[in-house]
């Protein structure tokens, strides 16, 4: 997978650096090897965490990586981008003692980085099943599904509208967690199973129709994620200098952004995208970065542990402030806000201006479900594709998973959902679809 040489994201260093071999051994040796382990229960992909950690401690690094990738084929990305503080590490029983929890993410990175660097492959494609599955979108959900389907011998084709696959794992996650080139390495390694056909630059719905895809494949998996940044419907929203946060992050991760003229940057929102964006602007050298959120600090939905670091970095915040107009002459120069009360209601007359020559909107992303809206059998809930526990949409042969079904969670959820859908698809292909094929091929009479 090829990325541009020059990318603004490359100025970032790992916020959680890799462990040395000695440190990894010492940390792994602390693990209590809990039975029915809370960390595993907390992991959406149910990685057998005590087992992979024990294998690090016994010097069985290959087995350790195998345990991780068996459960989660993007185990290296996840080791860095997962909010471990609220998942596995948050569940570690050491939290109930006066000792720090095991650094599970870093240990997972230790084993998986090593495996990818060594080129160890743990899985082979299954014998050719004669079935073919199309995957719409090339993000974590589809990659996980594609790999699982290859293990079961199905032919798979990924249709991705962008020029690169990986979805937000490549274009969205903060570069101080993982850079696009590291994820690209993992994806190339994942594709090493062989037989995953990748078609980039193909927008399903525009370049190819659903009817064509259903014709071409025996089953489809939809992992299209979320859409463009939501915008604010206020005066001046179209002024240059006002843009979506996710679009900005993508520009910074895949290419270069010029911030040399930016003195005051505002990021609107209180979720994780907004918190990432303030840290990223700060890291890219913008001196004055302010988070503008309509609620209180205590009520912000973004992870507390991430916001804490942003504050330490020197980021400012305007709490209980709602932008009502973007102002400027040909380009944004300031933002008019109104103070909000504790019920997130504007306080009449409490307006104030914040200077800004860059405004990023991190208030959410559009849902892309409409893309499937016309397909009989598919149900949407406010733009989200509705599925059962195994990702089935209700339309024969059509599964979905990841952000487009869960409304926007984490990479690890997308991986888990992609895998579980793939297992359901395999079952469908080897039973229902196989029977239908046999009936068709059987001589009449």
């Amino acid at each position: 997978m090829k990325l541009a040489e020059k990318r603004s994201e490359t100025v970032f260093q790992d916020f959680k650096p890799a462990l040395s071999a000695g440190h990894a051994f010492a940390e792994a040796s602390r693990c209590l090897f809990c039975e029915d382990a809370p960390c595993t229960i907390a992991c959406p992909t149910s990685i057998d965490i005590p087992q992979f950690i024990r294998k690090i401690a016994t010097g069985n690094l290959k087995g350790s990586a195998r345990t991780i990738f068996d459960a989660n084929i993007l185990g290296s990305s996840c080791a860095r981008v997962c909010p471990v503080e609220v998942l596995c590490v948050g569940a570690c029983v050491y939290n109930h003692m006066d000792q720090p929890p095991i650094q599970i993410g870093k240990l997972q990175r230790h084993a998986t980085d090593h495996a990818i660097a060594q080129g160890w492959q743990f899985h082979t494609a299954g014998p050719d099943s004669g079935f073919s599955v199309g995957l719409v979108g090339g993000g974590p959900a589809s990659l996980s599904a594609a790999h699982q389907l290859r293990r079961q011998g199905h032919a798979v084709t990924i249709y991705e509208k962008r020029s690169v696959i990986g979805g937000l794992d490549v274009t969205g996650v903060a570069p101080y967690k993982v850079r696009a080139d590291d994820v690209a390495k993992e994806i190339d390694w994942l594709l090493g199973i062989g037989g995953i056909e990748v078609r980039t630059g193909v927008q399903v719905g525009a370049d190819v129709t659903w009817a064509e895809l259903e014709q071409r494949h025996d089953a489809l998996f939809v992992g299209i994620g979320l859409g463009a940044d939501s915008l604010l419907d206020v005066p001046g929203a179209q002024l240059p200098g006002v843009q979506g946060a996710v679009a900005f992050i993508e520009a910074m991760k895949l290419g270069t952004v010029d911030l040399s003229n930016v003195r005051h940057a505002l990021v609107i929102g209180g979720g994780n995208t907004a918190v990432d964006a303030v840290r990223e602007l700060n890291g890219l050298g913008v001196k004055d970065v302010t988070l503008v959120y309509r609620g209180t600090e205590a009520g912000m939905p973004g992870y507390k542990h991430e916001w804490k670091v942003a504050k330490i970095d020197g980021v400012h915040a305007a709490w209980q402030a709602l932008p009502v107009a973007f102002q400027g002459n040909g380009r944004v120069e300031s933002v008019r806000c109104i103070r909000m009360d504790e019920h997130k209601k504007p306080i009449p007359g409490a307006e104030f201006d914040l200077p800004a020559d860059l405004v990023l909107l991190g208030i959410g992303q559009a849902k892309l479900g409409e893309l499937l809206g016309g397909l009989p059998g598919v149900t949407l809930d406010k733009g989200r594709v509705v599925v059962d526990a195994h990702g089935f949409t209700g339309r024969r042969g059509l599964w979905a998973g990841g952000d487009c079904t869960n409304g926007g969670k984490e990479v690890v959820n997308a991986v888990a959902e992609g895998k579980s859908a793939a297992i359901a698809i395999d079952e469908y292909l080897t039973t229902t679809a196989a029977a239908a094929r046999q009936a068709k091929e059987a001589p009449h009479g």
Binding site: S20, A21, G22, F25, F33, E35, Q51, R54, K55, T58, G59, N60, K62, G63, R66
Partner: protein, 424 residues
């Protein structure tokens, strides 16, 4: 793919990992769960006349914050009725025909031995293990290590058993002897198909310094128990090695004592074991540890291009020499990687007080990295052992110009021996 199948004196199992006769093999339900987890064999908790156990049975030897580097117990043989055990043995074998089920036995009279042997065979057992090793409770009754410590008795009882048994017989040896070899040879003369070792070591695990009672306390008293777990591995390895290198001894060995992971198991196999048995680590962490043992062993074999266990079994035995055969002209010195040193000076204290006074603190004003006087360093490894940092102190071979020579060659053939270091 590598072939992990193992054969210990005719007892075959899909892999060399067996559960030792102990609480993890107390019942059929447990053993079936263990086989599902991946264990290749199990030696049933010793059968005999069911006993009464005491409450509070185990003690732990901790070192600093590290819990249970050694473990001890005052538990006796099975306390479950014989007919229940035999019915469960039958059920396990029916469900797992390819796994090894070995029945451990300990009784007194020839009649009793004969009875339990017949019933074990009827239940479908793959082999017998004679518990001549238990160092507490049973030996006072003339069984266990009381038998294992007396080669003549060992040989006689092994002879009875082998005359009745149509399935392979392993004699489980006690380590509570000064030299293991005569006991292994006694089992061999008795007609056994193999030996397993070690059973537990007679021990007092600790003393409650405020209540003035030994651990593990049973009310206001205690007794000596059997020591096992990680700490006993060196003793077990030595005994396995001693039998393997003895030209008179030729029986297959099932290695036991402190096996906690695949690497420990490989060490036993390199010293000649055909299978290994685990008790304490399973008691501490459960059956699921076997996953790493199987995988770690497989990866080890792939790395070394070994296809079967026989390709490396006993491969380290030849390196086990008498002291007099070691090359006294071989010389190594310690080197410190200054970039890794954290300046704890533990090596300074160790060498100064516990070795040969050749590591000094850095000069005043210089970076806090100790300085080794290589001209005085005897190459003993102590500093490398105490250093907390991986690969910071390493032992490096030096060429002193002397041809290799053992002490024996020096004494009997006048071979030249290098200048003696550190004898100031």
């Amino acid at each position: 793919m590598v072939d992990l199948r193992s054969n210990t004196g005719g007892i075959r199992s899909p892999n060399p990992f067996w559960l030792a006769s102990a609480p993890p093999t107390n019942s059929g339900a447990q053993i079936m769960r263990a086989f599902e987890a991946g264990w290749g064999g199990a030696v049933w908790k010793t059968l005999g006349q069911p006993i009464q156990n005491v409450s509070s049975r185990f003690g732990s030897h901790n070192y600093g914050a590290k819990k249970t580097i050694g473990f001890n117990n005052v538990e006796l043989i099975t306390d479950r009725p014989l007919e229940v055990n035999f019915r469960e043995i039958y059920e396990v074998k029916k469900r797992f025909p390819d796994h090894a089920v070995i029945v451990s036995l300990m009784v007194e009279t020839e009649e009793e031995w004969k009875d339990l042997i017949m019933r074990s065979m009827d239940a479908g057992a793959d082999g017998l293990e004679l518990n001549f090793g238990c160092p507490h409770g049973m030996c006072e009754r003339g069984m266990g290590s009381a038998v294992g410590q007396e080669p003549k008795v060992n040989e006689r009882i092994t002879g009875w058993v082998t005359s009745y048994s149509k399935i392979p017989v392993l004699v489980k040896l006690t380590p509570n002897v000064s030299d293991i070899v005569p006991h292994g040879l006694a089992a061999q003369r008795g007609g056994a198909q193999g030996v397993s070792l070690i059973n537990t070591i007679k021990s007092i695990i600790g003393v409650d310094v405020d209540k003035f009672v030994l651990y593990p306390t049973v009310g206001d008293k205690s007794t000596n128990g059997g020591y096992c777990g990680a700490a006993v591995k060196p003793i077990a390895l030595h005994m396995v090695g001693a039998l393997s290198r003895d030209p008179r001894f030729s029986l297959p060995i099932s290695g036991i004592g402190g096996v906690a992971n695949w690497r420990d198991a490989v060490e036993f196999m390199l010293l000649g074991a055909s299978s290994v048995q685990v008790c304490t680590e399973v008691m501490l962490k459960g059956y699921r540890i076997v996953e790493d043992m199987i995988e770690g062993l497989s990866e080890y074999m792939i790395r070394h291009k070994f296809e079967t266990l026989e390709d490396f079994r006993g491969k380290a035995v030849a390196s086990y020499s008498e002291w007099g055969e070691l090359n006294v002209n071989f010389e190594q010195v310690a080197k410190i990687d200054a970039s890794k040193c954290i300046g704890c000076y533990d090596c300074v204290a160790a060498c100064r007080d516990g070795a040969h006074q050749c590591i000094e603190p850095a000069a005043v004003g210089a970076p806090r990295v100790p300085v080794i006087d290589e001209s005085e360093c005897v190459g003993c490894n102590l500093c490398e052992i105490v250093c907390p940092v991986q690969d910071c102190i390493t032992m490096v071979e030096v060429d002193n110009g002397y041809a290799p020579a053992s002490w024996n060659e020096h004494v009997y053939q006048g071979a030249a021996v290098r200048y003696k270091k550190g004898s100031h």
